[in-house]
Symmetry: C2
Subunit: 314 residues, 2 copies
């Protein structure tokens, strides 16, 4: 199952703001409609955003070659934190001199690569965590096929472990303010047939402290060269709790999420979203947080396993 | 302002489940109605629950002296975590041999003592934190007059600091699942005229890590002899983040919250509430967590300041 794809000259994506109540697929032919879909989180998740950036440029090229540069610029800046969005757009834009067919072929390649990267991440992560009895995992936000074109990153690991009969239970943070855990992860886990419990975000640390979790697995929106990890706000306290409890804190992400140009998390811009998402009054709504490298047991990509807490960089 | 009081032969309390949309005061004459109000959190907060336990026994004594023991038992077990509820009920019950007037006088004493303890906690905490420039505080759940009969514990400290012109801003966790922070704390802070921002619970740790907070101040539902603190779920990750950031983690609570009979937090029963409060599907809903003593910079009561992180016990 793919959350975003190219079908008959249009970008087709499932509107994630309506899930799980309604499975509505949007057919988008205007790049600015795609910018809007990105901004209101109809499509979200760093790898899926890479595909969206790529497909958006292909869409612009199919309509009007003169508009592609400007459309790419609007796509690139639709959201600031995930490096994938800009990278997907830029990669496809680089084929513009070769014409619209080449642009589209490049966009399709981004999609294929994201999908196969996810599967590889799932296998690699399952090898890392699945060495013994079935495990109890805790995750945050949504990192399944809805976030990654296909399979998933952290949920890709869950998927492969579940195929191997090695998942006892998954605790899913509800992930305020937009409830991606309660709305999307629970929907995906139920579809997979994985035993799961949704918990309030504030409950995660003590669920870990009470010995109910064997490992924390999360995705990433951007990973700095030193191993600092930007991910959905609420990730960092999980790493603190995992370190205190002595359990692994695993970050699953494609290589496209790694940003060697950013030395540390201090260089990652944190998107401040509309306060009204949190509260109809004075509020502050940072969308991401940064987990320091020393708390990150392992970063699992489709190509390698890096151990920032042991001093390894990316 | 008192959230619960004895007025003309009845217990009068503000229904906190309706705030901030509606300020509805309930007049309760049946102890079992009070048990129901406690269970559905119309009255909540450890000190206010102490008053509720006390007034509930007085109510039973005013109706039927033969029913008092049984009513006290139902009140005592209406919620398991806060020691104040059972203690308030038991203290007033001990005056039963002296007749209903003595019982009521004892219940009124509990109320007066909770109110004056709160004011003393506020003054003591403000002395601890208010030594320099105006401070930026972060708090969790609700600990104001709504939680404590009058003034507040952690919010009592905010109140006194604000009277002294020493509050720059308060970050208030929304406190899922029941949103006591967004519903009640924001309501109280707005009424006080304190600059504040509501944040998602998961954002608190990174707001602390980014240097936006000078101290964390929270209440407590029960404090073990060694300084382990049970409080609303979501408190423990704040202590982890405060320790990592090197800022104080202050617990404000009346002596009635201290439970010397419980050696450590491991002996505190954690109430598991209805999963449906979190999610309409498989969910787990622990209402409290335990913060280990080594993360607690200071416990401030109306009588003393104890420093568990430095090895002091209560």
């Amino acid at each position: 199952m793919r959350c975003i794809d190219w079908v008959d000259g249009a970008v087709v994506l499932i509107d994630q703001t309506l899930l799980p109540a309604e499975e509505r697929w949007l057919r988008i032919t205007d790049p600015d409609e795609l910018v809007d879909a990105i901004q209101r989180l109809a499509v979200r998740g760093a790898p899926a955003l890479g595909a969206a950036g790529a497909l958006g440029v292909a869409l612009a090229a199919a309509r009007d070659l003169g508009s592609v540069e400007a459309a790419a610029a609007r796509l690139r800046s639709a959201r600031p934190t995930a490096v994938n969005l800009a990278r997907g757009a830029d990669r496809v834009l680089s084929r513009l001199p070769d014409g619209p067919a080449a642009v589209l072929a490049e966009a399709r390649s981004v999609l294929e690569e994201e999908a196969s990267a996810s599967r590889a991440i799932g296998e690699r992560g399952a090898d890392l965590l699945g060495g013994g009895a079935p495990v109890r995992l805790l995750t945050h936000c949504n990192t399944g096929w809805l976030a990654t074109v296909e399979w998933g990153t952290a949920l890709g690991i869950v998927t492969v472990l579940h195929e191997r009969g090695l998942v006892e239970r998954v605790y899913a943070d509800e992930t305020r303010p937009l409830l991606q855990g309660a709305r999307l992860t629970a929907y995906e886990l139920a579809a997979l047939g994985v035993d799961h419990r949704v918990i309030a975000d504030g409950a995660a640390a003590s669920v870990i402290a009470r010995g109910l979790v064997d490992a924390v697995v999360v995705g990433a929106d951007r990973i700095a060269a030193n191993g600092d990890v930007a991910n959905k706000v609420g990730t960092y306290p999980l790493a603190l709790a995992a370190a205190r409890a002595g359990i692994p804190f695993i970050v699953a992400a494609p290589e496209s999420t790694v940003d060697p140009a950013t030395a540390t998390g201090a260089g990652i811009e944190i998107e401040a979203r509309d306060p009204a998402e949190v509260f109809a009054g004075p509020a502050y709504n940072p969308a991401f947080d940064v987990t320091p490298a020393d708390l990150v047991t392992a970063v699992v990509t489709e190509k390698r396993t890096v151990r920032p807490a042991e001093g390894e960089s990316l």
